[in-house]
């Protein structure tokens, strides 16, 4: 089946084309059926590929000659490694459920078909990225993923916030893309190839066709440039600001972006290109530090947000920080493992949040929710499972993977990172249960009308929730003593021997669980029993800290004043110089040389003289410089 891996992205692409041809008149049921079936087919093929890789190990990439440029030959193709076999299965599984869920969520939307078109294209792009055997192809799909996210985040473009968020997502991630592209091209210049295999070989032998930098420094440089791409896509500090805003898009899109596509791409790329990173101690340190900062930073912001989706969004940023940090401490398996479990429980949390939002007529403020457990038991249960998994309570999925990451951080000897990981874990447990208690327990705080209309969502929405809840419960076992660390062995079969079994520390699971329980306990005291009054804390001694967290550490504001405004002003100044000073000088010269007397004053304005003069002056400067350069004029 591995040789047919190209089928996996093909299914969503065909779905996209079919939907495109069908156009807007198509019935919602037909549209959903096409998209879901295509995604399901992709999932089935992915599972077959997965089992084959499990049995036989990964194969060689399939490459086709694409074109020849000078002395370089470029190929296109696909490949299946252990890592991307796993990714294919995860992405297609989550997408299928999100597609199904959207049927009900987007019901009656004027552009229902368009929504499914974009979703299919989005999944196609992500799958294409996953099976790419070379960095150029990765870059092409990488940009497509970005474009699709722009379209989907801005799907409700008539909402100004949605349009702004879409633009922000696109521009901010493009900053990262610039780094990525430069990194890829530098590698190409130095190694003459885009293929992973060729690049890894060159990195290993430190054999680069570049002489302006030492091979070690070159690897560090390239690794960091590629990582900058991942910073943008995976919303790491300091380019994290787009992701929380991106929840302005429809909730299923958030689920897809946060769990399966887009943000996973950054972590995936670093994991896929890990041999480059592994060759540079400095690059790994940078990655670990950025990941650690992101994990704690986003967790702290998550503590005080009142929008249900925003809290979940910051938790994504924080969890991605964990994954990146794990890669930075060479806990490769732990990172990939967390990427997988996170995909399940984060999709679950987002879809459950979507179910709540749907029931409350698109109200997202947890301050006006409460007591929904009675009305929506399935959503409540599944959200609870997702929250427990996110908090890292055994035996839920997040426990196993987060434990591995903490072990990795501890084993790396960097105590600070380890402590950061623990504190972030505490915050995580607290904020997600704050949401849980405020949403599902206590009295409803919204208006009575909304309460009367609130009801459990239909099976189209609850079935995906239940399936994801099951995965959030069991997927942690794939890499646990129960299965004898099957995932680690599976990934190692691909020949990547990085951080497989961090030495087990007997107290680690207890500490991690206790920290998480403490977070849940505090949330319980504050928002369930109300024995601690959160208002008093926020307005009392902790007020400055509360404000800092509530305003997201003012990062957006800092960017506005430190980057956006200066750039705008530089633009204005340049425009002023161009308009008045350059023009003025040219006019002066014009007066001096009597070009004004050429009789061109009949033109509607004076500009044509200016243009003529600039042309002539340009020529004079050029000739002067050239003659000076060859020594013709002294």
């Amino acid at each position: 089946m591995v040789e047919y891996a190209w089928l996996v992205p093909l299914f969503p692409l065909v779905a996209y084309l079919l939907l495109f041809v069908l156009g807007r008149r198509a019935q919602e049921g037909v549209v959903t059926a096409i998209a879901v079936l295509a995604s399901l087919a992709a999932f089935v093929v992915s599972l077959m590929i997965l089992s084959e890789v499990q049995a036989n190990g990964p194969g060689a990439p399939y490459m086709f000659h694409w074109l020849t440029v000078g002395s370089y030959t470029l190929s296109m193709g696909y490949e299946v490694t252990a890592l991307n076999a796993m990714m294919l299965a995860v992405v297609t599984f989550v997408s299928t459920l999100v597609f199904l869920f959207s049927k009900s969520y987007m019901k009656g939307d004027e552009r229902f078909v368009v929504f499914y078109q974009y979703l299919s294209l989005f999944v196609f792009s992500m799958l294409g990225l996953v099976i790419s055997p070379n960095l150029l192809q990765v870059y092409i799909f990488w940009e497509l993923v970005g474009l699709c996210s722009f379209l989907l985040v801005g799907f409700w473009y008539y909402k100004p916030e949605a349009a702004a968020a879409a633009k922000k997502a696109f521009i901010v991630t493009r900053i990262g893309d610039v780094g990525l592209f430069i990194g890829i091209m530098l590698l190409f210049v130095a190694t003459g190839t885009f293929d992973y295999a060729g690049v890894f070989q060159a990195v290993e032998s430190k054999n680069f066709a570049i002489d302006w930098i030492s091979p070690e420094a070159f690897i560090t440089l390239v690794a960091i440039l590629i990582f900058i791409g991942a910073i943008g896509k995976s919303a790491q500090f300091p380019l994290h600001t787009w992701l929380p805003d991106a929840m302005e898009g429809p909730t299923p899109v958030s689920a897809l972006i946060h769990a399966a596509t887009m943000v996973a791409a950054g972590v995936y790329l670093v994991a896929r290109a890990f041999p480059i990173f592994a060759a540079s101690e400095t690059a790994l340190t940078v990655i670990a530090v950025i990941g650690g900062i992101t994990a704690i930073f986003a967790a702290l912001i998550g503590l005080t947000q009142n929008d249900i989706k925003r809290v979940v969004a910051y938790s994504t940023v924080s969890q991605l920080g964990y994954m990146v940090m794990a890669l930075g401490v060479s806990a490769y398996v732990a990172s990939v493992f967390h990427l997988m479990t996170h995909a399940f429980f984060k999709a679950l949390l987002f879809l459950a949040a979507g179910s709540v939002i749907h029931a409350l007529h698109h109200n997202q403020d947890i301050r006006s929710m409460g007591g929904l457990w009675k009305k929506m038991p399935v959503t409540g249960w599944t959200f609870l499972i997702g929250a427990l998994a996110l908090s890292g309570i055994p035996p839920f999925a997040g426990f196993w993977s987060k434990d591995e990451i903490l072990l990795g951080a501890y084993a790396s000897g960097n105590t600070l990172l380890f402590v950061i990981g623990l504190i972030a874990a505490f915050c995580t447990a607290f904020y997600i249960f704050r949401v849980f208690f405020m949403t599902f327990t206590g009295e409803f705080r919204g208006d009575k009308d909304t309460w009367d209309h609130a009801h459990e969502s239909g099976p189209v929405m609850t079935i995906p929730l239940v399936l994801l809840a099951i995965m959030a419960l069991v997927s942690g076992l794939f890499n646990s003593p129960v299965t004898d660390y099957a995932l680690a062995d599976f990934l190692q079969a691909g020949g990547l021997h990085y951080g497989a079994h961090p030495e087990h520390v007997s107290w680690m699971p207890y500490v991690a669980t206790l920290v998480a329980l403490a977070g849940i306990g505090l949330a319980y005291l504050m928002y369930k029993t109300k024995s601690i009054n959160p208002e008093r804390l926020a307005n009392g001694a902790l007020r400055p800290l509360y404000n800092l967290s509530y305003n997201k550490f003012y990062v957006d504001e800092i960017y506005h004043y430190a980057i956006v405004l200066p750039v705008v002003w530089i633009g204005r100044i340049l425009n002023f110089i161009d308009k008045w000073i350059v023009d003025g000088i040219v006019r002066l010269v014009g007066q001096g040389t009597y070009v004004g007397a050429l009789g061109l004053k009949y033109a509607q304005n004076g500009q044509v003289q200016t243009y003529g003069l600039i042309t002539v002056l340009g020529a004079v400067v050029l000739l002067g410089a050239a003659m000076y350069a060859i020594g013709g004029v002294r």
Partner: protein
């Protein structure tokens, strides 16, 4: 390339063999001119553009036939190498002819909306202008080249001015005429130096002489080269000789603007590349640096100046200036070695990019025509809420803009990437980096238009949004543009294989 000396008789069949497409265009131009005299005004208005369309299609067929002729018999020539028939000329002529064909089709709609325009004159001037461009691609002699250049230029000046009753058109034409004439003077002055030193007007023979005399006569030869470069630079709008472009593009009717942006610019490149490759091949290692500086300046200024534009046509004008910078890079790479391999590669890059540029520019102007007419102004705001009014046009325009910006799976991405690789292949890293950085800047202003298309709303909530229709002629161009832009982006190898199979100079 053996030159026979002495007088040879030229028969019609010789001429037909080498310049059949040009002949057809010229004859049809005169036919339309006469036809206009003998039939009623209405008939002439209605039929002239169609005569033009048919002529161009016939010329396209003849050019395609010529590929076969060159493959079978080798290149042809006329009158002691005044004029040659080779695949280099053929491939450029195809670009011109398709550009003219699309211009004519777009013009059909323009004529309907502007009853004052003199249709037959417009049509034959377009045909004659294209003949000028074709001459620039095939001429092998400085004088013939110059004649081609002037035929194209003078036709273009008039075409810009033909938008009657529009003061901007008059202003744009005036500026184009004045600056264009300065440019012609520069070209001619430069040529006179070259001729004065070498005694040759044939560019290959001139090139041999230049190579022999370079050591002793370097300052004068360099002067000639640079003067020509300045003149050509105006025609292809290199910075700082670009300033006529925004005014002229803004003033001209949309079909003519797209003609200037595509055909006129491509013709400029056809002429520059042939002249410099044949005339200065051995000296190019020293001369390329001047071109490199112009390429750099053009990319920077074109893209930065576009950031400040509010008028969509001016924005596209600056974007077209920037594209000239990108297009110059393949020629610059020849400075690192004019072996055949490099030349074929550079020509492939140029032609590929021009082809992509043809599709995306024509498509963009077709959408722009419908949108700006509806809005009654040419600002970016005219595009506000286009997605609501016409999803198809909105999507199409987005594809064209993303292609200009260089988004993957469009012709623009691959074209730039190919040029980029060429630059890296020859070790021009700084220019490659600049290409990339300025393209990144470009994203920002294209994005401004995209944002208006998708985000803006033109009507109050609840009221029906008037749908924006597209006349069949514009619709056709949009579709062709879309297919070309995406086709070249997804399957670039198909077109590249064709290009690799060409016998450029025989």
């Amino acid at each position: 390339m053996n030159l026979t000396t002495g007088f040879t008789t030229i028969t019609f069949s010789d001429v037909w063999h080498v310049m059949a497409p040009e002949l057809i265009m010229i004859l049809a131009g005169f036919a339309i001119l006469l036809f206009d005299l003998f039939v009623s005004k209405g008939t002439s208005r209605r039929l002239s553009p169609w005569l033009g369309v048919v002529t161009v299609i016939v010329a396209i067929v003849l050019v395609i036939r010529n590929f076969g002729v060159v493959a079978a018999e080798g290149p042809g020539q006329l009158s002691n190498m005044l004029y040659v028939l080779d695949d280099y000329g053929n491939v450029f002529k195809l670009i011109f002819l398709f550009g003219t064909l699309f211009t004519l089709i777009m013009s059909i709609d323009f004529f309907k909306k502007n009853p004052l325009v003199a249709v037959p004159e417009y049509t034959y001037l377009l045909l004659f202008g294209t003949v000028g461009a074709m001459t620039m691609a095939s001429a092998f002699d400085l004088i013939t080249l110059f004649v081609g250049l002037e035929i194209l230029s003078i036709s273009s000046y008039i075409l810009v001015a033909m938008r009657k009753g529009n003061s901007k058109a008059t202003e744009g034409a005036m500026k184009y005429l004045v600056i264009g004439s300065i440019a012609s003077a520069f070209v001619l002055y430069g040529m006179s130096f070259i001729y004065g030193i070498t005694g040759q007007t044939n560019i290959a023979l001139g090139g041999q002489m230049i190579a022999q005399m370079w050591m002793e006569m370097q300052p004068v030869l360099l002067l000639g080269f640079l003067l020509m470069l300045v003149g050509f630079g105006v025609k292809i709008s290199l910075v700082p000789f670009h300033q006529w472009a925004p005014d002229t593009y803004e003033g001209a009717a949309n079909p003519i603007t797209s003609f200037l942006a595509v055909v006129s610019k491509a013709a400029g490149f056809a002429l520059i590349i042939r002249t410099f490759i044949w005339g200065f091949a051995r000296e190019f290692g020293e001369l390329y640096i001047y071109l490199a500086i112009f390429a750099a300046l053009t990319m920077i200024v074109g893209n930065v100046a576009a950031l400040a534009q509010k008028n969509i046509k001016r924005l596209l004008a600056y974007s077209s200036v920037a594209q000239a910078g990108y297009l110059l890079i393949p020629l610059v790479t020849l400075g690192k070695g004019t072996n055949e391999h490099n030349i074929w590669l550079a020509l492939g890059e140029t032609v590929f990019y021009l082809a992509g540029y043809l599709f995306m520019t024509m498509g963009a102007f077709a959408v722009l025509t419908a949108v700006t007419r509806e809005a009654g102004n040419e600002t970016i705001d005219a595009f506000r809420g286009l997605y609501k009014r016409s999803p198809f046009q909105a999507v199409a325009m987005s594809v064209f803009l993303l292609s200009m910006a260089g988004m993957p799976i469009t012709a623009g991405f691959f074209g730039k990437f190919y040029i980029f690789l060429g630059a890296i292949n020859t070790g021009l890293y700084w220019l490659a980096a600049l290409l990339f950085v300025t393209s990144a800047i470009a994203f920002y202003y294209y994005f401004g238009v995209l944002k208006a298309i998708f985000a803006g709303e033109t009507s109050e909530e609840g009221t029906a949004v008037p749908k924006l229709g597209l006349p069949w002629s514009l619709n056709l161009i949009v579709w062709i543009g879309l297919i070309g832009t995406v086709g070249l982006g997804v399957f670039p190898n198909l077109f590249l294989d064709v290009l690799n199979g060409l016998h450029w100079f025989g």
